[in-house]
Symmetry: C2
Subunit: 387 residues, 2 copies
């Protein structure tokens, strides 16, 4: 759907409707500054006890830092959808993504609702249209589809995501990354929230592109119950595993399509006191301009990894540390590894995706984190302002 919110004229409105409503759980950004739709969506889920009839998403405008008029605009768009479908106002879940601080042209959004309603369908192309309209600087669709057969019944799961910049989510229960996961499992909101929380912890909360946490990040899980498969017994581990795969895949797709990304780097940190310590080191490396620019040219300048780790606020003894890049040792016993091979390391780093491990010698804390390089193209995308 095109409402004319994006200057490019590309699709910018997505609408998903669940007849009779669905059980819902959502997680949002932990930024102090949150967009109007985050405030409204949070309130709607609280008022309905986790029930959603329709999801309305616009791209091209984040409706953030827009004050009370932004809240009003968001609410008006929800009213328009509720009117169009004869459903409860509070059961409309709004999302926005795009520029911050510009008033949302809500009249354009409302004017697009009838056409969006007419275009609804339950075929693969309709799901794709939804996943397309939520994109901004993304270059690819990010979707996952799975069907599980449990006790002879089929449970379906469809997830889609957007996000390529301002990606450094740290979602809390109650992130400009938007993720929608739809299933026909039967489960209550509280149970969905618990399952979503567990799946998000090691997926969306362990990625970054530029480390800039957004004001709008949102992950929404909707369960219609139409499979007649309840979230219990053997269905439970099967669904939880599928949900984790869905979140892992979408998280990886987001980094892989990050603004200007040419290398996807997985950081595996271990041997520190706690998982949080390991995550702090991973986040610091993942947001280090010197590490990220070195990755962009496959430069085996591993000293930058150590310098970044050393400012993460985590105690470790460099003499105990072992660092590998693409499986090749680069640092051990407090100095360059005896077997360090610059050409081989450069070759390993020339791959589109590779892993860096950093074992810091003490403690059982560990983390796995997916991030990317910093390129000329990233600067171009985010500095393209001209008057």
């Amino acid at each position: 759907m095109k409402a004319g919110i994006k200057a490019s004229g590309k699709p910018d409105v997505a609408l998903a409707v669940c007849e009779g409503g669905a059980a819902a759980a959502a997680m949002f950004t932990s930024n102090q500054m949150v967009a109007a739709p985050v405030t409204v969506g949070r309130r709607h889920l609280a008022l309905t006890g986790g029930r959603v009839s329709a999801v309305l998403v616009n791209a091209g405008n984040a409706n953030c830092a827009t004050g009370l008029p932004g809240i009003e605009a968001c609410r008006k768009s929800c009213v328009a959808v509720a009117d169009a479908f004869g459903c409860v106002f509070d059961e409309i879940f709004p999302s926005s993504t795009g520029i911050i601080g510009v008033p949302l042209p809500v009249e354009k959004l409302i004017a697009a609702v009838p056409e969006a309603k007419a275009a609804l369908g339950d075929h693969a192309k309709d799901a794709e249209a939804f996943a397309t309209a939520i994109l901004t600087t993304d270059t690819k669709l990010k979707v996952v589809q799975e069907s599980l057969v449990i006790d002879g019944k089929t449970v379906n799961l469809f997830g889609c995501a957007k996000g390529a910049g301002m990606i450094g989510p740290q979602l809390v229960p109650h992130a400009t990354m938007l993720v929608y996961i739809f299933t026909d499992l039967a489960a209550c909101s509280e149970h969905l929230a618990a399952m979503l929380g567990a799946a998000v912890k090691t997926s969306f909360n362990c990625i970054s592109i530029d480390g800039d946490m957004s004001t709008n990040d949102t992950v929404l899980l909707l369960a219609s119950g139409k499979s007649n498969v309840a979230a219990e017994g053997a269905a439970l581990p099967a669904f939880e595993a599928a949900l984790q795969r869905t979140c892992d895949s979408l998280a990886h797709q987001i980094v892989d399509d990050g603004e200007g990304v040419t290398h996807v780097v997985t950081l595996e940190i271990s041997g520190v006191a706690s998982d949080d310590d390991a995550l702090a080191i991973a986040r610091t490396i993942a947001s280090s301009p010197l590490c990220k620019t070195a990755w962009s040219s496959a430069d085996p300048n591993w000293g930058r990894l150590l310098a970044a780790a050393g400012r993460a606020g985590v105690a470790f003894d460099p003499a105990q540390a072992l660092i590998t890049i693409g499986g090749l040792p680069v640092f051990e016993y407090g100095m360059r590894a005896a077997t360090f091979d610059e050409a081989a390391t450069h070759a390993a780093m020339s791959a589109r995706a590779y892993t860096i491990t950093m074992h810091l010698g003490r403690g059982a804390g560990q983390a796995r984190f997916i991030t990317c390089d910093l390129t000329h193209e990233y600067v171009s995308i985010n500095a393209d302002y001209s008057t």
Copy 2:
């Protein structure tokens, strides 16, 4: 002096000698990973109670992550200088800057000592030669010279600095930013340490280029006493003020010559609970790729400032916030300022240097922080690896 440590063949060894020794105070990086000369320099100052006869600096190699052989190489270079000048080994203060993780070619450094000794002098050109040899990716000399007349006597102060990347210092008493300040004031090491700590707090500890704290950052203050002016009475505030001006100037010069910098941005944060809270917000904005790329094109996308402030871990109410850029209000009452003028703001941001203020509405905490934009040139400088 050229020892051949830099592949470019540019000057890479600097030597300063104080006949009879000088009282000394130094501050070093708080990175967990420190270079060999930081370890050795810290130990020498402790052993001598803050006494330095000579300063030996090499550029082109950081002698960091080089293990015990790195320590040995550093000590050997100190022995060579002590032998050349007949002074106490522990009174040699070593510094290194350059690539991390590559063994220091100490034999080249030692071979250069006789020539460095022969080239010593006390003219302006000699000070300039020292300031030149410590540079790496810097494009300019960073020097300050002041003479104070106190009670008819003259106190001289000369400071020089290097650093253009891996600049996000947080110095602690006991960073690849190197700063040397020489004075002929008479003061003991403890007093120098106190004065240096106060001056560093609001100068070098309130700047960043890329936010990547180095393993080698060092600020050294040497006082020979040859002015016969003691650090007491009226001389004290006069000298402290001059020292602060020196540190402020060198800190500004470092950012102004930062890798690829086209805009120097001063952040003034106020209205939060504590100075530390204000500093946390300033540091988060200063290390936000989205803020820094917007600055590079003078893009008045102030929403990125708010998004970064909102992830700094500091509580504030956006409705109480007031943000100005170049003196022009951009955000107030929780939304775009009524008087927001995009063209005027773009024009203000087109200046080489300007100030962004963010008043967050409650509390007396404040900070002033100097940082810069992130440009294509920064990426080029730090991703120039090719095999």
